[in-house]
Symmetry: C4
């Protein structure tokens, strides 16, 4: 590697316009002038850092190698002379100080009793932008909430007097061992919650023997995440298919070479959803001052995710499937199947499985939950003698918070369940230790609930153990009669006597 040119901060700071735009990232200087129109996140956000150090903004949104990959070598101008650059003194807002103070007040990890608790703490201690990105969902977030509530329409029919001294909830997913019927689902922009990003997941997964699905839009680079595995640890890859298939091919074949055990092609996101809570956050982020400065109109109709997803190919279709089979030997699974018809097509196309998913409620509102779709998919596959079938596995994700949720899905035919947000919230609040605590809790819940439903192994978790007869019930109360209810005087509970004042 050649000696790199040393560039002074003063020189960089001169290139702060649309016509000549240099930025500093991780101590290196890049000329991004020509790249501005192509930037998936828009020109505006880069111009904000023209002539300055953009590292802090860059990091959570991009893998470390994104800039070097996308910029031709001649635009890599050199390294910044550390003595010359006036350190950007990031003004710490009072809001940020309050947030850090809240961090100090987190309860100790062993007081976290369930996956819900991580979300409560993460919401209090993580940066607001990250919370907005992770927690938001499509339109009115009906599907987002339905994902969790749908599990409440499935009830157990537990069996008794079975020897449950030993219970074993380990399983095999696409041929890989997993300590539980759960994998870590792919979610983007992991560093918005924690500086280590998805590495928190990789490390905890390795320690607890479960499988991580690496997201295309990870904040960490793919190789970082693979490098962080321990021997025997399996990983899957979630794939957004690029309009430029050469890029996709390179990425897939690299993944296979690095030992990835399954390729999950996302099919529910030809366009990323409108997530209004995320969009509202953006308004606050880009004040009117900026607008006046540049005279450019901010497109406020897009949140963080849409900005970085313009490469996704909305023309991806069934006809493309053979091509994927031609470029890799990894098992191929479609992520985002939402009705039995497409599950049958996937099986008939020789794929290895489907994830019944609505993208965590982030895409189409009023899409049904994975657990609901599971019932019709298993019925349709069974009718066609395609289920059970070790070579075609069914997964669901979305809304899972308890081991009981997972066991319901397993009883109804799922091989395993993907969990996303709860693990992110766990590390956003507590780092890797949070993810490990989450897995410990799940293990405790699995042990107890396997015993309580009378199932020594996952093979014993059968359809007759649940009543899912209400799964398709999407009802709501007749709008309430406000005048009637205003008039109704409620029953009052028994109360302690009031103590009369001594005076």
């Amino acid at each position: 590697m050649a000696i790199q040119r040393l560039i002074s901060g003063t020189e960089v700071s001169k290139h702060n316009t649309r016509e000549s735009c240099w930025i500093i990232v991780h101590g290196r200087v890049y000329d991004v002038t020509d790249f501005l129109p192509e930037h998936p996140g828009g020109m505006k956000i880069i111009l904000k850092y023209a002539g300055k150090d953009a590292t802090e903004e860059y990091d959570p949104i991009h893998p470390p190698d994104a800039i070097t990959t996308n910029l031709p070598p001649e635009k890599h101008l050199g390294v910044i002379d550390p003595n010359t650059v006036t350190q950007v003194v990031r003004e710490v807002t009072t809001e940020e100080i309050a947030r850090q103070e809240r961090h100090e007040r987190k309860p100790p990890l062993d007081e976290i009793l369930n996956l819900h608790d991580f979300e409560a703490i993460a919401r209090a201690v993580m940066p607001e932008k990250g919370w907005a990105y992770y927690s938001s969902a499509a339109d009115d977030e009906i599907t987002h909430r339905e994902n969790h509530l749908a599990y409440h329409r499935v009830w157990f029919r537990p069996r008794i007097l079975r020897d449950v001294h030993q219970v074993d909830w380990s399983t095999t997913i696409l041929g890989q061992k997993s300590a539980m019927p759960v994998y870590i689902s792919a979610t983007a922009l992991g560093k918005l919650g924690h500086p280590e990003g998805e590495l928190n997941l990789t490390r905890a997964a390795g320690k607890y023997g479960i499988i991580q699905m690496i997201p295309t839009l990870a904040s960490c680079s793919f190789d970082e995440l693979v490098d962080a595995t321990v021997p025997g640890q399996s990983q899957f890859l979630q794939l957004y298919v690029s309009k430029d298939r050469a890029i996709t091919k390179r990425f897939v074949q690299h993944a296979e070479k690095r030992g990835i055990k399954g390729l999950f092609i996302t099919v529910d996101a030809p366009q990323l959803g409108r997530r209004e809570k995320d969009m509202r956050m953006k308004f606050e982020d880009t004040g009117s001052a900026v607008q006046q400065e540049t005279g450019e109109k901010v497109n406020k109709s897009e949140g963080a995710a849409r900005a970085i997803s313009s490469f996704i190919d909305p023309s991806l279709a069934w006809k493309d499937i053979p091509w994927f089979r031609s470029i890799t030997k990894m098992p191929i699974i479609l992520k985002g199947v939402q009705c039995w018809e497409d599950a049958v097509l996937a099986a008939e196309a020789g794929l290895q499985g489907v994830v019944l998913s609505n993208h965590g409620g982030r895409q189409l509102d009023f899409a049904r939950s994975g657990i609901e779709i599971l019932v019709e998919v298993v019925a349709a596959l069974r009718e066609r003698n395609l289920f059970p079938n070790p070579n075609f596995q069914i997964f669901v994700d979305g809304g899972v918070r308890r081991a009981t949720d997972v066991l319901k899905a397993v009883a109804l035919g799922a091989t395993a369940v993907g969990i996303g947000r709860p693990f992110i919230y766990a590390y956003s609040a507590y780092g890797q230790a949070g993810v490990e605590r989450a897995l410990t809790i799940l293990n405790e819940e699995f042990e107890m609930n396997m015993r309580l439903i009378g199932a020594p192994t996952l093979k014993d978790v059968v359809p007759a153990m649940v009543d899912a007869s209400n799964i398709t019930m999407h009802v709501s109360n007749v709008p309430d009669d406000r005048l009637y209810h205003a008039n109704y005087e409620s029953m009052q509970r028994s109360e302690l006597r009031t103590v009369m004042s001594k005076l």
Copy 2:
């Protein structure tokens, strides 16, 4: 046109009694003494302005030509001498000042993310009387809310891996092009929300290529609204049938001559509904002082709408349909059909379509929603081989807020969906630009959701794409057990530690 007599304000002010009542409207003086008993809105409201300028009160309730049409020429006394009339200094109430101050604080239009947002802002910034009139509905407003909630009982079954690079949600309504499967439904008294009234709708519709249905009870005159169209722009007409069929005939034939493309006869309003929120508003409007002055008893049992609707003929019946077909060649559609039996009758009567509607919940409470009726109507027509049928189109209106709502209706068989209140709220808050923003939002939602359900065109939006099996479920929770719930101690979420005071 003859030179008009110039009348002094002093002279007008003398005619301020039941016996001789003159009023000024738009600079002209009228003798309305004999007209008082016939005024559809009651005598009282006119007497309030006897001898004065009534323009401000007149405008939102009447088309500009209402007074000239209804009053014989000899009662058109002349023009007011502008030098003599003491300008009625409208006392600006503190409430009105507060309202205008709220107007200043509206968020910029590009922060309006969905149709709900317009309603939130309109409620804050529009005159209270307009809000009461637009937002109110029949009885306990059960149907009003059901209209929206019913869409929540229909869920999507989206398809994947279809090429949705190009998606097209334009359609043809009664032979006219429409940029989306949406038309602007007719709603009365448009100037209650904005001085330009329904013109806001006409202009935005022209710009965005959608169709406006002109209301019989518009605040703008029919011709104003037609004159405001751009070349190629289509309009429909909503018709309240008068007891005096000659008036109706004249109106319909005039409309046809002006190029109206469809006649929507309202059949769900033989009498206008009791809208109690609107009625309560009226109480506040007419204080007791007025009552004492006149000694006349105000009939408080009627809101704004009923006052202006006494001309509607409650004896309109199926036997009248051939007559309509004899007076016009426009397609005739019945607006307000509410069961399959009447939809079948309409088809058999040779009409061109039906709007499944309950008048925005403003007429019969516990009438079912359009989307619910749609399911039974399509089934009944299909059974009789009357569906699909390009010459008999089905529309629904009521409760629509999202493109997903529209797509559900299209999947279930509707050609297009009428949207009313959201557009009114849009212009009440932001004028024409608000309506345009609303249409932009709908376009964005359509583009995204067409992709997400896997439908390149509206023809691909088929019944199998929705699960409407719960549409007839009108349930409510068993009344809650107040004592039990008062005793139940809720689960508590994990909390941050309390910081001990340093003292």
Copy 3:
């Protein structure tokens, strides 16, 4: 009538013990010593007034003739010497003053828009004891509320294009004309709400051409209520059957002689229900001081109603029905039938009808609503060719607040609907004028809704006009997941900008 002995207040005041107990009622002196153990309301309440004037307490609970009927003539001691009795200066409590002040603030009657409004005002202005007695219901008041909510599970299927210029909602009940398909149901202790008690109902009913059902436990005497009728006015009688059949026989035959047109035997109250709100009220009424004074233990397990109902015969059975038919020619109707089996038995027993009722939710909790029972009763009678049948009419009561409720019942097969509490609330707040306003409102609602459902007469209100398919749905939400909901961050509506302080 002999000259009555004049007794001095001083003398009366000496008889203030269990051993010798005199009381003054309406200016007359009675020796009730021997009657104490038989008093249906318990000995204690009388002893509170021993030696004193009990008129004010006596009045709302008893018809004027109760004491003369129950006490042998020799215990009628004479009249009180008005000069000697120190007037009991009823201490007006601050609570009572506040209540009367609230009375002054009632809105004028023409601002009362619906039957709900009467309840809102009555609750604010009527004596608390009356409110507790009228508004309370059995156990957890589930059935009480279900009575109203059940109507919300029935939705309309209105018809269009029918000539509804003239609409007529009058009907015939047990051969008697009624201006609407509504009668005033029997409710006890009418003076708890207003000093004129049930007379308010009689007079308004006469004026509006509807039928009043006189309660056995009226505060006014039976004859007072009959005497108050106008020519042509019909009344029914509600009957609690006494253990002493001679009393019942006398009462029934007297009623028939006085022209009563129908005998409604209450069959859902072999024992009066536990109404806990009413019972709690009693605790407050009888303070601990009283307890100490008398050393007697108050039986707090009973509210007002049970105290006065001990005469009701719990052994009344089907075998008694022929006896009733033998003592009267009036139509006999069973009030309180709650399943089809008993309705069929009633028809087979040659009776003239049934009231499907659960006693306003005051008896058995989790009894079903009348409107729900109606569906199964009509189906069962129809199967047996017992419906329709002019000689066996079906009524329902409980929970009715709107004319739409009534029309639903009529569509499903009811001849008429009983309304109780709303009329009581109407006169408790506004006296007779309140009842008249209530009837005016109902007339307005009937006129409008007959038009809106497309029914010129009640004969046109047919089963196909309603969808009652959800009537038996008694569901409740799965208990909510408190941790999940605590974590969910709600969508926020668009807000006005905050104005920055000028400083």
Copy 4:
């Protein structure tokens, strides 16, 4: 019995370490050093009392004989010299003072109107630890609440005109007379609520002629509870089966010898559930100071119950049933059956009955309620001609608060219903008198409701008296549309006029 060694407090206080740990319980000194690792509740809690008097902590958790049974005789060191031990002056916390002050303000017992009221008062006056233990349930407590709510989906179909002068709700349970179709279900650690613990139940049960089920984990010893019976009083025994079957055998045979009339083997608790409210309580109990002192890590993942239940055998299976039949002639009933399949197995195994129960919602969340399971169990047994069958009785428990709940279960086929928490709350607030009041209330409710449903005896309480058609409905509302609801302006009820200030 030998004279016991007298030990001074000073000597005991020296043995306050892990290496040598003595404690005082009820005036006797024990060396528990070797027992520390075996203590089911963990070593830590004992070490807190090393060298001190542990009686107060010991009592509610253990029967009096627990320590003598578990510790070999040589570790019973002697009795404490009362003159030497410095009385542990239990510091009374301000919280405890407030609690006792609340105790003084309890309403008198005759103002307690229903079983709910006991819970309201107990929550206010009982020690928080006891409340946490009794009231908590598994996971999100969905099943816990469902247990009560499920009864709300069953409605009555009462019969009329049956002679209900005499009503009799007594019954026979496993051959034993019971004054009502209710028994007192077994619940652990009775002294957490009241110093007399389960004795309150024994005494009240004896007085009211109902049967108490003695819990294995009672705070009182088994023999204490048997000794407290009156002649003719029956008791059952709830059994947790020990890993050491010799202990179980001894316990069962001792129980039979003492006259126990039924053996209820708990089969729904191979492992005790995670009760998070109880677990959170423990955090507060063991402060961080303790942690620092000992350097030992507290296992916070367990509440009170799990600590004392490690002896329960999770390998208990159907194959063990014959052994139970071989060691006792008592009727054997399985407690915790949750589907028809296991009920049929139990009947086929020759057992005498099943309790359809989910352990009060304390074990598996999303287990169904007993009343729901009852419907499928009775149907399945009936199909196999196993029902009705006097030798195989069906019981349910969980969620019962009213006699109506019990009657619903009886109508659906249950012989009797177990009630647990309400009785504990009754004595936690009011001691034995509370339990007696609870039974009085139930008697009053039974008398009334037997009359109101038209059933002179329990044999008349038949399936046709209830509508349980909704029992399997586990639905929830579609997640609410927050933006829509935020915009909807509610109907407002009629209000009193505001009084204008005189100024």
